[in-house]
Amino acid sequence: MEYQDTDTDSAFGFDGTWKEFAPIAFTNLLLTIVTLGIYRFWATARERRYLWSRSRFVDERLEWAGTGMELFIGFLLVTLLFGLPFVLINFALQALAMRGEQAWAGALTLVLLLGGLYLVGLARYRALRYRLSRTRWRGIRGGSNDPGFKFGFSYLWKTIAAYIPLGLLVPWSMTSLWNQKWREMSFGPYKFDAHAEAGPVFARYLLFYLAPVVIFAFLGLLGSFAPTLNAMLEGQDPTIGLVIGLLLFLFIFYGILGIIAVAFYSAFYREAVGSTTWGHLQFSFGASTMDWIKLIIGDAALVVFTLGIGWIFLSYRHWKFFMIHLEAGGEILLDELTQSTTATAKHGEGLLESFDIGAI
């Protein structure tokens, strides 16, 4: 039986193994090196073909129908349409600076930064659209009719607006961008819908936001015990105490802040996925903060203890993490599911699709 080793209680399942993935990852690495990186587009397609084919939704596997060639063509287009102008603008920037036109150089830099932010938004949208349009399940696919140019502007202004009140609007900008993006997406005949709210995650965000203050206050308190520490280290060079104190401080500061940041992100992701629907299906994401921390520490350990080679397994780990924590409840009326009518170019899916950034 095809699914004997997956958890059939859940709507989603993953039954890949790292032993199956390893030959793919290592040959990809080899070919990417000997082609000076050009093979990486085909490598991505191979990797995804494997990951998708070991993922189950209800009673059928997913299929990745994207090709390396279309990713490569997309990369060439992006290089031509954005990379080249970027190089030219940089030349102009240098020339302006050389001529002492600091005001113009500054203005151009600002335009470059804003344009960059817009493109990041556009690219994220396009990457999601591309992935949905290349995902097959029971012969149907997803996609969107909106090319995402509007979303690029939303991303631009909402990201900037989030930081104006000292960053307090970041949860709002994250959830509203999530909603906006997913409401444009569809799979088969149904659109996705999302109603993520900033309220439920705001407490966690405030924790992250205020943590530095609290940590500083706490460490200040600890600092008052410094004479005790000094007494313990008596006879030693006083700078040793200072260095130990500083290292301790940095460790605590970034350690705690990192954990709180993960706590916020896991809450955000639960809220975002949990308020997303497709047809009569309601999605949810079950990963707790601890699960995320384990993922990150596992990633770090894997990379460090293999002297970097383990890096090629990260995409596998992340996809598995995503699939085993993703849940869906509700009902699917298979008879109603028809093919997506969203636009899809046969060749290369347009431009930025392949500017494929963001989490796998």
Partner: protein, 359 residues
């Protein structure tokens, strides 16, 4: 009824709905595969139009060339007679599948090594072939008119012109200027423009030191190093955009760095030739490098900062310049004391010189 070796249970999707069709896939004895489902009229697909899509754990998925989303899923252990009729599997991509992973990897490695070698050495050939007038126009577009950021006084300009005349053999002189920057540095800019920074002029203890450094920078211009470097930069940025990883980029940077050292050595040779031709003592330049060396605290290359860092080790350079002096010969001074003084005070006395706030 066909023989069992040409039939297998299968399921398929028509690509228009998500409804699963389940039944038998049977070779029709010619070029078709008949999909039979109970209670439905059979569908025949042209075997020539079937495409291999992917292999699952126990299944193989095929698509059809003319219907993008049609999917036929057959067991991986289908009868060999039938398997022989189905399109072949693909794994790495069509080229690599055809010639095999090992041979493809070796072939790609050879081509890549050749590409890197080409991109690193080609500028060496192309650089000198670019007409000087093009380079000048390009340089002017990049650097522009430095205008008021260069120091000018009548006496200083005359002294600089005299110095340049001694070290630049060509009738069409390079453009040289003293930039109002308080750093011990000198540069050859695109477009055949040479700048001595005021900080370096202040540091110089004799006009011969300045003559040596100026001759070195003129050497860069005359040997077309700037154009070559620009071409190399351009080529490498193309190559590294394809690489997208730091490892390959690091190797290439290291490769090009050795070429920049060669260029520095070449400029030094040019400088020594010019100094000898114009009867200027090379010990000035030697003394300058020796002082740099002392400041850096001995013969350690990495400790030396600024323009000297990308240059050959100061100790070797100092020796080469000192040894190029003709033994027992007394060289005439290249500038009078007054002229040297005019260079030293050029930036101070130029009232409307602007600050160079670029660095």
């Amino acid at each position: 009824m066909t023989e069992p070796s040409f039939r297998t249970p299968a399921h398929w999707y028509d690509g228009k709905t998500a409804i699963r069709r389940e039944g038998l896939a049977v070779w029709d004895g010619a070029g078709g595969l008949r999909l039979e489902e109970e209670g439905e009229p059979p569908v025949t697909v042209d075997l020539a139009r079937l495409r291999y899509q992917e292999t699952r754990r126990h299944e193989i998925v095929y698509s059809a060339a003319d219907e993008a989303d049609f999917r036929l899923v057959m067991p991986a252990d289908m009868p060999p007679g039938l398997a022989a009729k189905m399109p072949a599997k693909a794994e790495y991509g069509s080229w690599i599948d055809r010639i095999g992973l090992g041979r493809a990897a070796v072939g790609f490695a050879v081509v890549s090594a050749a590409a890197v070698a080409l991109f690193v050495t080609l500028p060496e050939w192309l650089g000198p072939m670019v007409p000087q007038t093009w380079e000048r126009r390009m340089g002017d577009a990049m650097v522009g008119d430095l205008g008021n950021r260069l120091c000018h006084t009548p006496a200083g300009d005359a002294a600089l012109a005299k110095l340049l005349n001694e070290v630049d053999p060509a009738r069409d002189k390079v453009r040289a200027g003293i930039a109002n920057i308080d750093m011990v540095n000198a540069v050859a800019l695109p477009g055949g423009q040479v700048l001595l920074f005021d900080g370096l002029v202040q540091e110089a203890e004799s006009p011969e030191e300045l003559a040596g450094i100026l001759a070195h920078e003129v050497g860069h211009v005359r040997e077309r190093h700037v154009m070559t470097a620009m071409l190399r930069q351009f080529g490498l940025s193309i190559l590294s955009s394809g690489i997208g990883s730091n490892v390959g980029g690091g190797i290439i940077t290291a490769a090009s760095l050795s070429y920049s050292r060669d260029a520095e050595a070449e400029a030094d040779v040019f400088a020594r030739t010019q100094l000898a031709r114009s009867d200027i003592s090379p010990t000035g330049a030697a003394r300058f490098f020796e002082r740099k060396l002392e400041e850096a605290g001995g013969e350690s290359e990495n400790a030396v900062t600024g323009w000297i860092a990308t240059h050959p080790a100061s100790g070797n350079r100092a020796r080469a310049f000192r040894e190029s002096a003709v033994e027992g010969k007394t060289y005439p001074p290249v500038l009078t004391d007054a002229e040297f003084e005019a260079l030293k005070t050029m930036c101070e006395e130029d009232d409307d010189v602007e600050d160079f706030d670029l660095f």
